[in-house]
């Protein structure tokens, strides 16, 4: 910036007052009149001062945990949980903790850039005036129906803005997508909830107050929907207090996840049989209670199911007995839903809850409350909907695509070929903060602030029984020449469409949305004037109702339906079921944070790379050893991954974490060879996924069979654990 002023001058200017500063901060680059240098180079006259704490909302995933960021002399030092925030009660996950390494990531896009050849890293820097002109022209020179927005699952205020824009100008309604929503199969969950509660939305599982949890593939301790809140629930489930005994936990899955590793009973069923097993348990439970077997469960034969699922009938009966005798809750999720019969799985599992009579009761299943300002649950796009968008792009119906908050080129299955589809879009404008794969395929990158530099709000979709609107505010002034996408769109849309969005800036837009809550009763705080209300909203990190907002009104006759009692179908040829799962440490977009890379995976302790989990027995028969690089071939593609001999996976299954395999996205997400060429770090299992859907339109990502080939090469995996101490390697006789 040209108007850089020294720190000494800034101190003189400080007399302008805090209010000015706050507004300036909200206006983006204009506030950047302090030069930042690492504190080691602080001028001598600087006194070691006090830290300042700002409440905001974490956007590393869409769960919307409230955080408080400790800042010190203009720098964000530490992320803490916001103890007041009802979703996470002061707790954070590893991804939230390391979000600072995103803020201070050395690979951030620092200026608006123009790329003459898509896919080429070479680019030229622009100024924001020109950038705004590009956006204005893009909006002005195309028919509204030719303009589309592809947004990520977080930054709800941007989504609201674009929705408003769509409503007032007729541009395409924004499509939201994230890899997590794909692996969580949110459309399936939402559809199943609709069938159960008569209303679409995310079910909320109150595992804290249950006595026994039966999870069908749900990885709720890792990345699933709202991991911090579910981890708290799990912790409370386990804690025996007074009369409440320690709760039991049973996990059904073919590959032991970090969640399954904590289960009392881990049931390695054959992939695709989850629905059958749930139904069989329902039948056995009904029989145990001596009641008439509800219609939905009546079609299965437990003995036959046990055989199909490759588990002992006794084990099934034992689990059914556990279910029947405790206050039980059943949770569907993860790979179980990402199969051809995913919706049937979800419904069978939810039917178990109906059978357990826990709907709307403590320790049972609720429909998550709608967040304040929300009128209906806005779920992210399913892959089927993404496919529709891609088809529109391929048909040339979309001339301008704005991308924000996601990295679809990396996250979507390669088989969907979004890269090719982007080629059919005249102009692709990315608002990426980091130089990810999608930004690489864009004509322009107009970088948004990092979320810790920006304003906003995020709706808590699930995880708590209160309706929560989580507030976000800048905790540091922007580091680089970035600009809030909301501001960019406001300015450009005003230039293109007149006063379609009549707001001066992002802060005013937020104000208009949030201030509607001022009149609502039963809120976490109240205020008599708008300024105080907005100030409190930022100060508390959001606004939430103090009363339970869950609904469970259901006259559903789930139990009287006829179940789809069939094994899931698997696409492709090969001897192995493929289970892709989201890396518990990296999540969907953590690969560029070096400390997330260096966290040991919870189950394998692998760092910095992708691995494929394989049963040691199977590997032994195939002559495969640890660290052998094998080629995995699906009907859609192939990748090469080093092997981790994982003792807790079915012999007929292999599993690969999602999160690595970047070819862009910064120095920590990729590797470099000795010549400095950027190479892929790890591998991306999305390259293997073929396009098959379940009944709700979610991708059947776990509904594939693959084969493997040895390559004869090895790639040593970096593990935290000792192979000697944990697997007795080199001490076999001991």
């Amino acid at each position: 910036m040209s108007e850089q002023v020294s720190r000494r001058d800034f101190l003189k200017l400080a007399g302008l007052g805090a209010a000015t500063t706050a507004v300036l901060t909200g206006c983006g680059p204009a506030s950047r009149y302090v030069t930042r240098e690492p504190y080691q180079q602080m001028p001598e006259y600087n006194l070691v001062g006090h830290s300042t704490y700002y409440a905001t909302t974490c956007r590393e995933c869409a769960a919307a945990c409230g955080i408080v960021v400790r800042t010190y002399q203009g720098r964000a030092i530490k992320v803490e949980g916001n103890a007041n925030h009802p979703l996470n009660l002061g707790k954070t996950c590893a991804r939230g903790q390391t979000s600072l390494q995103g803020l201070y990531n050395p690979d951030r896009v620092t200026d608006p850039i123009k790329r003459s050849v898509r896919g080429d890293v070479a680019s030229e820097t622009m100024n924001w005036d020109d950038a705004l002109q590009v956006v204005t022209d893009a909006l002005k020179n195309h028919k509204p129906s030719e303009i589309a927005f592809l947004l990520g699952t977080s930054a709800d205020h941007l989504f609201d803005l674009v929705t408003d824009l769509a409503n007032s100008t007729g541009v395409n309604a924004p499509v939201r997508f994230g890899a997590l929503s794909m692996f969580e199969a949110r459309a399936t969950l939402s559809k199943a909830a609709e069938n159960l509660f008569g209303q679409a939305g995310l079910p909320w599982f109150d595992i804290a107050n249950a006595q026994a949890v039966f999870s069908f593939g749900a990885n709720f301790l890792e990345t699933w929907i709202s991991p911090v809140s579910y981890t708290r629930g799990f912790s409370n489930l386990r804690k025996a207090e007074g009369l409440k005994p320690r709760g039991q936990f049973v996990q059904f899955e073919s590959r032991m996840s970090a969640t399954g590793a904590r289960a009392d009973e881990w049931v390695p069923l054959r992939p695709g049989t989850e629905a059958l097993v749930a139904l069989a348990i329902g039948k056995l439970v009904a029989e145990h209670h001596g009641m008439e077997v509800p219609k939905i469960f009546s079609g299965v034969d437990p003995a036959e199911v046990a055989e199909q699922a490759d588990i002992e009938l006794e084990a099934l009966e034992h689990i059914a007995k556990m279910f029947a005798e405790a206050k039980s809750i059943a949770v569907p999720g993860g790979a179980a839903l990402g199969q051809s019969n995913g919706l049937a799985v979800a419904e069978a599992v939810l039917a178990l809850n109906v059978l357990a009579d826990n709907i709307g009761k403590a320790g049972g299943v609720y429909l998550s409350p709608l967040a304040p300002t929300e009128t209906e649950y806005q779920r992210p796009a399913s892959i089927q909907e993404m496919k529709a968008l891609i088809e529109k792009m391929n048909a040339g119906e979309i001339k301008v695509l704005f991308v924000h908050g996601g990295n679809p080129v990396f996250e979507l299955p390669l088989a969907l070929n979004i890269r090719g589809a982007l080629g059919n879009v005249e102009q692709v404008i990315s608002f990426a903060t980091f130089p990810d794969e999608t930004a690489l395929e864009s004509d322009y990158v107009f970088p948004d602030h990092h979320f810790l530099e920006g304003w906003g709000y995020q709706r808590v979709a699930t995880g708590v029984n209160l309706p929560v609107l989580s507030g976000a505010q800048p905790v540091v002034s922007p580091l680089y020449n970035t600009r809030s996408t909301v501001d960019v769109l406001l300015t450009a849309s005003q230039a293109a469409f007149g006063n379609a969005l009549p707001f001066k800036d992002e802060v005013e837009f937020l104000h208009s949305k949030v201030i509607a809550l001022m009149g609502e009763a039963g809120g976490s705080f109240s205020a008599t004037d708008e300024e105080s209300f907005m100030a409190s909203f930022q100060q508390y990190g959001g606004w939430w109702k103090k009363s339970n907002g869950t609904t469970s009104a259901s006259d559903s006759n789930v139990l009287d339906k006829t179940a789809n009692a069939e094994v899931a179908e698997f696409a492709g040829e090969g001897e192995f079921f493929l289970v892709p799962f989201v890396s518990p440490t990296l999540g969907e977009a953590g690969a560029n944070k070096p400390w997330l890379q260096e966290l040991a995976d919870s189950t394998t302790t692998v760092m910095w790379n992708t691995w494929v989990e394989m049963n040691p027995e199977t590997a032994h028969h195939q002559g495969i050893h640890n660290d052998d690089l094998i080629k995995i071939i699906s009907e859609a593609g192939e990748i090469e991954v080093p092997v981790y001999l994982y003792p807790a996976i079915r012999p007929d299954t292999i599993a690969i974490p999602f999160g690595q395999g970047h070819i862009a996205y910064g120095r920590y997400a990729t590797t470099t060879d000795e010549n400095g060429n950027v190479l892929q770090r790890g591998a991306n299992p999305a390259d293997l996924l073929s396009i098959h859907f379940n009944e709700a339109g979610d991708l059947a990502f776990a509904g594939m069979k693959v084969r493997i080939e040895k390559t004869g090469r090895t790639k040593p995996l970096s593990r935290l654990e000792s192979r000697i101490g944990v697997y007795n390697e080199g001490m076999e006789g001991h």
Binding site: T92, T98, K239, L479, W595, L596, T603, M607
Partner: protein, 258 residues
């Protein structure tokens, strides 16, 4: 009871009588192994990340690591309860007497094992002698590897350095380091309490790991205050201290079993 553990003869018998001051309990039954504590520790204490190769070679700088083993064989296989392992702040620490330069003395005031970075000459004897293997050594100048820097106007700029916690020293190569029980937070809380003319109350502050832990598995506080939560938990019947047979008097209690 104030005991100068650096006095000759104070090591064994007297130390055993010492209760310690700060302590921690970790409930292994609820630990999910999510690594939030590790990340929080790294952010709070300016830990360096070492990259793929060094990490795989046993050079990670984690001050807390989560250990898991396996029991049984497929399909009857179980992962053992996650075991977060960090400096146990032994009352009778094997690392202390072996340092030739007193870089790892015992704090009389806080009853902690201190690590004096600027005194350390890097003999690594302490790390050898630590039965918990929780000390990490700065094998290289990880923080100032030019790989992490961008060249801006002819100068190397390390953007990530902006995140450093100014309350914690940034260590350079050749220095041993380990968990400090977030001693900077202890001091800050004590200073605040002293300024307000009171004692630090239980739960007023906590360590970075305990603060982050989504499962609330980690509890930190005064073990010598019998009404404090950590003191009560550390006397829980599930409480186990690691390698207690070595008479190290660890201050971390693990709650095992269900």
């Amino acid at each position: 009871m104030k005991i100068d553990l650096n006095l000759v003869g104070a090591k064994g018998a007297i130390a055993e009588a010492a209760e310690g001051k700060w302590g921690m309990t970790i409930d292994q039954d609820v630990c999910t192994g999510c690594q939030a504590c590790v990340a929080a520790c790294a952010m709070e204490n300016n830990l360096s990340f070492v990259g793929e190769e060094d990490a795989g070679y046993g050079r990670t700088q984690h001050w807390i690591r989560i250990e898991r083993f396996w029991e049984g064989e497929y399909p009857e296989i179980k992962a053992t309860p996650n075991q977060p392992m960090l400096c146990q702040q032994c009352g009778h620490a094997p690392c202390e007497p072996v340092c030739p330069v007193f870089a790892t003395p015992h704090s009389d005031a806080e009853q902690l094992n201190l690590q004096v970075y600027n005194r350390c000459v890097g003999t690594r004897y302490c790390a050898n002698n630590c039965p918990y293997q929780v000390r990490s050594f700065n094998w290289r100048d990880y923080h100032i590897d030019p790989f992490h820097a961008n060249m801006v106007d002819g100068k190397l700029v390390f953007a990530l350095h902006n995140q450093f916690n100014p309350d914690v020293t940034v260590r350079r190569r050749g220095v041993m380091e380990k968990c400090t029980f977030c001693i900077q937070r202890i001091h800050k809380a004590q200073d605040t309490a002293k300024a307000e003319g009171r004692d630090v109350f239980d739960g007023e502050f906590t360590t970075a790991c305990a603060q982050a832990c989504p499962a609330d598995a980690i509890t930190f506080g005064r073990v010598d205050h019998h009404e404090s939560l950590v003191s009560q938990l550390s006397h829980h019947e599930r409480g186990v201290k690691h390698l207690e047979e070595l008479n190290t008097l660890p201050r971390v209690t693990y709650l095992k079993g269900a």
